[in-house]
Amino acid sequence: MSTAPHLDINKDYAERYGFSDPVAYFARTPKGINHEVVEMISRLKGEPQWMREARHKALDIFFAKPMPSWGNQELLGRIDFEDITYYARATQRPETSWDDVPENIKRTFERLGIPEAERKFLAGVSAQYESEVVYHSVKKELEEQGVIFLDMDSGLREHEDIVRQYFGTVIPPNDNKFAALNTAVWSGGSFIYVPPGVHVAIPLQAYFRINAERMGQFERTLIIADEGAKVHYIEGCTAPVYSSSSLHSAVVELIAKKGAYIRYTTIQNWSHNVYNLVTKRAMAFEDAVVEWVDGNLGSLLTMKYPCVVLRGERAHGEILSIAFAGPGQHQDAGAKVIHLAPNTTSKITSKSISKDGGRASYRGLVKIRKGAHGCKTTVECDALLIGAKARTDTYPTMEIAEDDVRVEHEARVSKLGDEQLFYLRSRGLSEEQARLMIVNGFIEPFVKELPMEYAVELNRLIALEMEGSVG
């Protein structure tokens, strides 16, 4: 067999995505985390007293809480909270129109394909550069419908009453150490409110990037779909490569009121040095439907388990995720569903690809509480291994307190097989083409749920990740 040249994926990554334009920092906090830093952030933003207090309280919780005792202890142990900058902003305040966005930032976005995406598809862009939103536009029709789509800081300024009512109600700061940290230092993220009965026809999108060394990103997203409302929110991330570690720890809270529908689509492609430790949870009331569509490609360590709490009768929750773990990466992802009310239903589909020393773990929880009669849940985990040193593991937990429920669980592990490769190659496809076709087929159930441009982007990213896997 011929040996193909070894390609350093990270290097190629750097060429394609690893650009970083020089940015003038108007404000950044000193490295490290303490009450002074929290105070600075809150003052800089000119926040109301209650939010400032909430931040300080959360910081105390962060200090008091131990690190998770599970998951990848080795990688978690390497996080140095004192070596991270918790807040920086690229420009003084959010821009209102594309023309006002600084040229170098525009260039970065252009290389990520944002303007094009917007022209074609966007309802509004909330593009986060560093820790502050620099560009934010909302289509007129949304405003006419009464839909609020803002960055979280503006949301707090302009709709303090709504934010105060819901902030931290789905994910309180004492939920876990990283949720506490986020509550203390959050900046940016999206705030969406959809009034009763309003259907937002086009997906709302936001683009996030980390653009500085040892820079933390702590977005806070809050989406409220009022009774009978419908909304699809999409976020996608691409990050440049840096040598030292970066921490990304977002909190996303969704509230789907009676009969509402929320779909939240994410594709994350952080550079391979990023810790991506995210808490995502949705509250689904009577007859509400919440869907998490979650794709994780990049990062050093991802720990993310999108959750749906089914609080009202007949509510439905769905979590569809893929994870791609390349060399040195650990994707510890999964899903949680809590059935609190009768006749609620849920479906978890998890697909992971581990390649050449990469590790993907599925960690899931399905809980059916006493009194939640007639619930149905389906869990399907599918792992694909590429190369000899790839690793996958599954940690499913089921806590079922009722008898008249239907619980299905299915887990499969397959290896990207010689027989599949030989079959495709015998039809003229190169080994690389054949591998890519098999992997694309594997993630097809996920990709077909994405809007066209994201599907194209994901396939491109997967192709990039698969480069150099031949031989």
Partner: protein
Amino acid sequence: MSEKRPVFALENLRVWVGEKEVVKGVSLAVYPGEVHAIMGPNGSGKTTLVQAVMGHPAYTVEGKIFLNGEDVTAREPDEKARKGMFLAFQYPVAVPGVTVASFLRAAVAARRGHDVPVKEFRQELLRRMEQLEMDPAFAGRYLNDGFSGGEKKRLEILQLLMLQPVFAMLDETDSGLDIDALKVVASGINAAATPERGLLLVTHYQRLLNYVQPHVVHVFMNGKLAKTAGPELALELEARGYDWLETSVGGGA
């Protein structure tokens, strides 16, 4: 036109599976327009032979393989395919998530060396599918995923017709087919048996040969071609089985 040369030839081909020698020196030549049949008892290594010829990485090969006069012994399977070698698998492999149409489009582009416009490709695909009495919806299904035995075999023949190889090996394409499906598949094979192309049918039974007339029949036993003759040999094998050949092979050639 100069004198005809074989589209496919083997020169003393030997194949090992690990330490075990399964094919112990096979030579044959298939000329343009010829249909050859390799028959042999179950477990005699017929599948190993054709998979090794196609370039399956599990086998070690010695001797020479020629395609259109070119020595392709050391070529990768995809190179052989692009040069016009084809193998219809006995057990086609499923690739979930990849549609028949997208797979075929990629394969056709690889074989022809250029992309085929979508519309043109679709028309050709639908025409070929109709020829094999396949539902157009078939094109949107995932490759061999949940296919019945008969559907898989039809898809192999569809690929044969779409890829237009120089030389094709068909491994037990008749197995697992009911009589109607067999007729359809046989008509597909006959359509593929053009004056320029060479075909090699690998089969255990005479059944397929009632519908596809071979010019040459080989019996493959104990790693060697025990006998080569005209189509009448197939009928003799059907009547007498393979045991009577055992002694002549045992005697050594």
